[in-house]
Structure formats: C-alpha cells, structure tokens
Subunit: 135 residues, 4 copies
C-alpha cells in the first residue's frame, strides 16, 4: 500500500506566520489541501482535470491537532495517507513533522464526491475507484 501514502515537503513562508511568531493555525488547512493534491498527482490524477470533468471534492469535515509550532523559514513534511473510501466519502489522515521528525500536527479530513452540474453528492466514480481503493 506504499502507493497510497505520500509526503510533501514545504518551507514556511513569511505571510503564513502570525504575530505570535508561529504559523497561523488556519494555514494548516492549506498545507493539507496541497498535500492531498500532490497525493492525487502521485496516483496519476490531476485535481484540475477532475474539476474540468465535472467532479468536485469539497470537504465535509476537518480536524487538526497542533503539537509543536512552526516558525518562518522552517522546513516541514506533510505525510498523507488514504484512510477509507466509503461510498460518497473519502477520508485522509495526515502527520506533519519538522526536520527533527518531531510531530508538528496530526489531522484528518473527509471529502465528498460532488457532481459539478447538479451539485449533488455522488458515489466515487468508477474510473477513480482504483485510485481510492485501499490495497
């Protein structure tokens, strides 16, 4: 199942840091999103192409647990894993680590397949089932 787990590498940008001197908590949602998109690319799927094909993947749930702060210019890694495909929904889990392999945050997101035209929830399209199938 190693193909269902990927790692993105990032560096904290200036504007992502708040006046406490740490990455603002809302920025983590962008980190998770970018790591999901890179996970899809690793499976051979372009999220841009998916949207053009009329398939949207909005979030239904997010939860993030913050363990250690990140600071400006810190490098960090987002490990993302497919957790489950359950009809309409797909769930990913995340572990963000710093260069010393300390856990910065853990997180989980649930997304729903949506038909762009009708804006209705749909089951995972057939051609994507292998992508979201757990080994």
């Amino acid at each position: 199942m190693c193909n269902k787990k990927t790692t993105s590498s990032c560096v904290v940008q200036y504007h992502q840091v708040d006046q406490m001197g740490i990455v603002h908590h809302a920025q983590y949602a962008y980190f998770l999103e970018q790591s999901r998109i890179e996970w899809l690319q690793h499976q051979g799927v372009s999220y841009a192409a998916l949207e053009k094909d009329g398939i949207l993947l909005p979030l239904t749930d997010i939860s993030i647990h913050y363990k250690q702060p990140l600071r400006f210019e810190d490098r960090f890694f987002v490990h993302v894993s497919l957790e489950s495909l359950d009809g309409f929904f797909v769930t990913f889990s995340y572990r963000i680590e710093d260069v010393a392999k300390r856990i910065v945050a853990t997180a989980s997101t649930r997304l729903v397949f949506v038909d762009a035209a009708s804006r209705k929830a749909i089951k995972c399209p057939k051609f994507l089932e292998s992508v979201f199938h757990l080994g």
Copy 2:
C-alpha cells in the same frame, strides 16, 4: 449564562470564495477566530491587550463540520459558546447559520493559555477566571 454566548454577523467577501464558487473551507478558521475575539470583547476583554500583558491563546485543536456552502455576498452568523475551562485549556463551540437559519457548519476549538515570555503553558490567570467561568 447568556453572557457566555455571543453572535457575530458577517458577509462573505470575494476573496474568501474558491473556484467551486463556495467559501474555501480554510476561511472558516478565520470566522471562528473573529467570533472568539468578539466573544472576549463582549466579556470586557481585549485580546490585543491580553497579548500585550504577555498572555497568548494559541489553538491546540480545531474541528469543523461543513453542512451547507456559503457563497459570495451571503450574510451569515457565527454563534459561539464557552464550553469548558479545564486548567490550561479553554474550549469553545460554534454554530454557523445562514439568514434562513440553516446550519452552515458546526465547530469546536480548544485553546491553551501560554506565557508569552517563557512560551510555557499556564493555568488560566486569576483575573480571567470569571471570564471563562461557566455560569
């Protein structure tokens, strides 16, 4: 306990909307933050003054459940309630509603009191206990 529950009113701004035509999920973290700050103001506490006094309140946990999307120029309401004060931690719950009183999202955040100088977690300072005391 009505003084421990407040409501903020907002309108969706253009830049908060993504290419699906709905408010990007990360923006909700900003909505919750602003509603907490207004909750504090309603209790007579300025968060800016708190930080100048050396007390920080970073997040340890956030969870958001998205029910209905918001679109550009939609008005919405963030109802925020103090849930618990538990030593170092304070927990708030949120319900976001649209003008038709449909639930847009529910959420929960846990924050930790931190001493700005030492960057260590501290218990809720004495002078704030009445603010964070539940009824």
Copy 3:
C-alpha cells in the same frame, strides 16, 4: 458627485497581522476589494449579480503606498472614489485612514470589463454606464 465616493469601516483581524506585528501588506488588496464592492452596492449594484449576468471585473493594475502601519484591533476607514471610466477600463483611487485621520495608505486600481463567456475585454455595458459615469 458625493454618490461616487464611499467609505467603508473595518477592524483589523488577528490573522491579518504578520510577525512584525503590523497588517501584512497583501491584506490591503482585500481591503480595497471589499471597499469597491461596497461602493458598487452604494450605487445599487450587486457584484455577485453582475458576475451571474456574465460580467467580470478583474484587476489590470494595482498600486499601494504604505504610510503608517495598522495593528491588531485597530479600526480604519477606506475612502474609495471613482477616478475614470475609459472604454474597457475603470479606475478607482483609495485613501485608508485610522481613527485619528492619519493616512495609513493610498492606492489605485484599474479594472477591466470582461465577458465571462468569451473571456474577452468588453466596453462598459450600457446599463452600467450611469454607475461609472463621473458626475
């Protein structure tokens, strides 16, 4: 011409401030955008409705001159004026002031009318000419 000049009032939110303790310069683009949208509303035009009608107004140019910083919880005012309508283009100027009426920033933006379907620049639609007509 007082109907071609409006003022928006805002308060600095926590996430808008960077680790220098001042509002991040990019946030001003959002302030200007929101003030333009409120200017349009004041002229009786909903920008959301305009987009649904297939008329887009992307930026071609922005310039901002920063004079004084804004800090968390500061109230400020964005004065926005229509400067010119020149075929495809409309230009607005802005003056941001703090509560002491000190100038925080001045700015200018040029926008272009675009047909949403063809993505081509168009002249200001007839029904909008009176809106963008200078006294």
Copy 4:
C-alpha cells in the same frame, strides 16, 4: 550582475484561485514576497536571521500590472532583480512568466530598512551593503 537576479519557480495552489477561476490578484503579493526571500537566500542572507538581528524590511510601495491570468496547477516563474539601493530604501522589480514564457505580470516593490527596537527607518546596515550593492 547575474548574482543580483534570481528566479523562483512555483505552482498555483487550489486556495489561491478565486471564483473567476484565476489566481486572486492579492496572491501575487505573496509570490513577490517569497521570491524576494529566495533572492536574499541566494545572496547568503536569511530573512529570518535578519529579523532576529533586529532589522525589519516592511514595504512602502507595491505596484503590479496583470497581463495574463494564472489558473490552478499552472507552473510559473518569478524573476526578481534588485533595482536600486537608495539610503533607507531598496527597490526590486519582478517579471512573472508562465511555462510558455508569456508575461503573466510585472511588478515593483520598495522596502525600507527599519530598526526593530525603535521602529525607526534606518540606512542599509553596513554588513548588508554588499548584498544590496548593484554590481
């Protein structure tokens, strides 16, 4: 003078795109900022270290001219050049290009050296003069 000109490579992230389906104009300020920070790194200077040493570099002026839109997953390049060092101020110019080498945007920013303790403008510190010296 090739050491005074650097290029950063980026890919458009999902949250950077607005409901017109193009990168929101405010995001370009973040692109420019990140390219400046990478320019500094290329000169052997960490902006994080600079701030810890008490030297801030806030913006006094920004201007951006938008030529072609960027879309989700587009790769683009930010070419940044030092333009001038003039006492308190340093000016950079930018050219953003897509993979087909079409110009996406051009821009200019002026920054001012500020002493973090006094919050007063200062001349370019001696140890940085060679960095900001034009060939």
